[in-house]
Each structure stands twice: as C-alpha cells, then as structure tokens.
Amino acid sequence: MSRVSYSTREIVCKIVYYGPGRSGKTTNLQYIYSQVPSERKGEMVSLATETDRTLFFDFLPLDLGRISGFQTRLQLYTVPGQVYYNATRKLVLQGADGIVFVADSQASLVPENLASLRNLHENLLEQGMDLRDIPLVLQYNKRDLPNILTVEELEDELNFREVPSHPATALRGEGVFDTLRAISEAVLRRLAQRMGARAVAERGS
C-alpha cells in the first residue's frame, strides 16, 4: 500500500514482480541491486531454498533520495513462482501498488505464463483488487535463448490489456531498468492522480 506522508515528507510504493517459476524475477532484482550505489539500497533479502529457487520472496528496499523535498522509497518484491506457494504469493501481493509480470519468452513455456497470469488475476480478485485497476507492466525475459517467441507473438499470447511491455535479458541487465522505469512511473502517476482527485473531493466537501 503506497504511503504519502506530508508530515514526514515521505513517499513509499510497493512493486511486486510476478510470474511463473524460473522466469527471472529474482534476477531482475539482483541486477537492480547490483546497479544501485550502496548508500541508496537496503539489504536485499532473499528467502530461498538450497537449490536457489525462491521459497518465500525477495525484498529490495530502494531509496530514491529526496525528490522535491520528499524522501522517496520503492519496495521491490518477488513472489515464488512455483504453483504450490500460492499462499505466499497472496501474502506478497497484499497492498501492491504495481505489478511487473515477468514472462519467459521460450515458446514451450506459454502455458506456464498463462497459468501464472490467471493466478495473478485470481489472487488479486480474492483481495478485492482488479488487474484493470492496478498498474501492470509485462516483461518478456530471456530474449537471448533459442526457441523463443517473437515479441509480437508474446503480445498476442499474453498482453490482453495492451499494457506496456519490454523485452529483456535480465541476466545481462538488458531491459531491467526499462521495466522498472515503466512500472515506477505508472505507479507514481496513478498515485498523483489519486492525490489530485482526493484534493478536489476534499475541497468540494
């Protein structure tokens, strides 16, 4: 849940990286972590199994510094992609301000991508949230692998709502910041709209 505090001059937003197992969600956060100056990042917390699969979630607090007098922080999370960790996915989704759906570009993994998208939709609905009302960005990851679908094919398969999408090779960092930039701007602009609408409503009441 985003917080804008005028008294403490602080903005905090939560962004969740969602997607099927092994699509590269943790790799996205690891790349971001590697690029951020040390004074700007908190410790990245990864709760993983011995085989390096995300068991619960990753959490990366990102301090964007003081912008227009407001300390601005992004909280980046990943969910575990494996089917049997749905309780944890719901937990991490709670209060999300924006979602990055990290899809695997390999042609053989379209069913997994679709199942994960459906799962996202269901989990949001269960929490009273609608995917249409929350900023969403798709990332088509692993563009360096053979046997991948073209971006146009992935758009046809996955991007029903025509949300912004970015090709990526997260292992090399390609497309990672483009994706983060897109979701961050979408989340902040939505927040600005809501703040503006509330200001108008409060003046009118």
């Binding site: 849940m1 005028y6 590697s34 690029q35 912008i67 909280q75 902040l188």
Partner: protein
C-alpha cells in the same frame, strides 16, 4: 541605460514546461501579466542551466509587450554592484523600474557591503507596488552570509524551485530545439540523448549540438549506441572518460532511472501539497495521508517468522515489519 540587455528569443512560448518547472513558469507569467499584484517578490531557485534566466527574460519580454509604458530592468548582482559603484544615479534609476528582475543572487553573499542598499531598493520597489523577480542557485534558507532582514524580504512573496526536467520534458526540449533549427535526427538518437544523466538543459542542448556537429562535419549519421560515448564529457559521473568501467556505467544507469522517475514523484508531491494545504504558519500540524485510506498499523518488534502459516496470519503488517526488520 542601466541593467543588462534582454534576449528577445527567450519568451514563455520558447520555454518547455514540465512538472519540474510548471509552478515557476506559471508564477513568472502571472507576475509579468499583472506586475505587483501577486507573488511579490517572486524568488526562483534551482541549479545552473535549468531555465531561471530564461523565465526572468521571458517575464521581461512579456511585460514590455503588454505594458510598453512600464520600465523594465533586468540585471545581475555583479552588474548592479558595478553600476552602484559608478555613480549615485543608478540607485534612482533602478527604483524607477516597474519590473525589477535580479539574476544570480547567490553572488550577494560575497558582497556584504551592498546588502543594505539592496534591502532599501527592494523595500522601495515593494512599497511602490513594483514587481520584483529574483533568481538564485539555492533557496533563501540555504543562503549564507545574507542579512536576515534582506532574506526575509526576498522570501516574503513566493519561493519556487526549478528542478531537473524529467524524461518527457527532456524529450520535448530536444524536439523543440530540432524544430527551431529546422534539422532532424534519428528518433532513437534523440531518445538516447534524452536518457543520458545530463544535469541541466544547457548541457542537454550542448549534447544535441555536438551530435549534430558530428553528423555535419563528418558527413555521416550518428547511431544511437554511440551517443553515450560521444557525449561522455557531458554526462554526470563519467568525466574520467567513457566507458569508465562497470562502476561508471552502473551509476549512469541508476542515475538515469532516478532522473526519469523524479518527474512522476513531483506530480505526487504536487498532489500531496494540494491536499495538505496547511494553514499559514501551521505546517507542523499537516496531517499524514495514506493514499489507500488506511492508517499504517503499529510495527511489531520481533523478527519475521518463516512459517508460511504464520506469515499468512500476519498479512496486515507485512510491509511495515519487513521495513523494520530488513531495511
């Protein structure tokens, strides 16, 4: 003739407006349209090359257009001091300006001896209902070595910051510059220039000029991947040469990201300020807002358990707990 000449090309129409400068633009324009009636004095502050002088000159140009009978004087601290030293007439002449625009106020700190005279000049202008606009590289609260009374006069109207333009504004600035010069560039090259971690508009335009110069002088088309290397000397953090090793590249990528989201953050802040509207002098009582309408819950002080069932039970406090435990 007192003051400095005003560049007729620097108008409000040639100024690219974005969230980072919208308030400064609107206030300057209002001051020029109705001098002395609002935002007086208007104090603009921001880093070099962000458009402060452009707005001062645009106000001067618009005022001359709308009120041709009104004397308008634009000057800098250095020029004003030199003119004061040359003769006593300058003081009277400056006071006759209906719009007084004073640039580079930051240099006043080094001229303590003239501060009482500036205080008198400002006092005179404000008493007579003249419009005063000043520009400085820092806000009044950060100006050291300035007399308190003078500082109070300077900040008694409206103080507005101009910050680094966001990505959309930088794109618009480059497009407008290309249109003004009647030249074109590969859109991917324009995008690359806009995305570089360049600190101010002047350097952004210098970057564009450099790319155009390379195309013209070397009779070739610049490709987008070479933009970063070509403009390395303008990019923050890469003065040691490009590519400056992985560390430099990393800083550049994160810095560019920060610059891009800053514009969106500024929109949130503007919304928050509109909502807060604390009574004058009562900012301490500004109310904390939560966009989702919920108050943050108290943070338990124990470490996060790893049992999924336990996590599920603790859903409502997850974010706050994570922040406390791990951030």
């Amino acid at each position: 003739m007192i003051g400095l000449p005003v560049d007729p090309r620097l108008t409000f129409e040639s100024f690219v407006v974005g969230p980072a400068n919208r308030l400064a633009y609107g206030a300057s324009r209002a001051a020029a349209e109705a001098p002395g009636s609002a935002y007086n004095p208007l104090f603009l502050h921001g880093g070099a090359g962000l458009g402060k002088t452009h707005l001062l000159m645009a106000a001067a140009n618009l005022c001359r257009e709308i009120h041709p009978e009104a004397p308008v004087v634009y000057t800098s601290i250095d020029r004003w001091v030199r003119e004061l030293e040359r003769g006593a007439d300058a003081e009277t002449a400056y006071l006759e300006a209906d719009i007084f625009l004073l640039d580079e106020l930051q240099f006043l700190a080094a001229r303590a001896e003239v501060q009482p005279r500036l205080f008198q000049l400002l006092d005179g202008h404000l008493t007579l209902g003249h419009q005063v606009l000043v520009a400085c590289d820092r806000p009044p609260v950060e100006m050291d070595g300035i007399d308190e009374g003078l500082l109070s006069r300077l900040s008694g109207g409206l103080v507005v910051a101009i910050t680094r333009p966001g990505l959309e504004t930088r794109r618009a600035i480059l497009e407008r510059k290309l249109n003004a010069e009647g030249v074109s560039l590969d859109p991917a090259v324009v995008e690359e220039i806009a995305r570089l971690a360049i600190d101010n508009v002047r350097q952004l335009q210098a970057g564009l000029q450099k790319v155009l110069a390379v195309e013209r002088l070397e009779s070739r088309v610049v490709a987008s991947p070479e933009v970063a290397r070509l403009l390395a000397d303008l990019v923050r953090g890469s003065a040691a040469g490009w590519p400056g090793g992985p560390e430099e590249g990393e800083r550049g990528e994160f810095a560019a990201f920060l610059a891009d989201v800053a514009e969106a953050v500024e929109e949130v802040v503007a919304g928050a300020q509109a909502r807060a509207e604390p009574p004058p002098g009562d900012r301490a009582q500004a109310v904390a807002h939560e966009a989702g309408g919920r108050e943050a819950k108290p943070v338990p002080g124990r470490r996060l358990g790893l049992d999924p069932e336990k996590l599920v039970l603790d859903w409502p406090n997850l974010d706050d707990r994570l922040i406390e435990e791990f951030a």
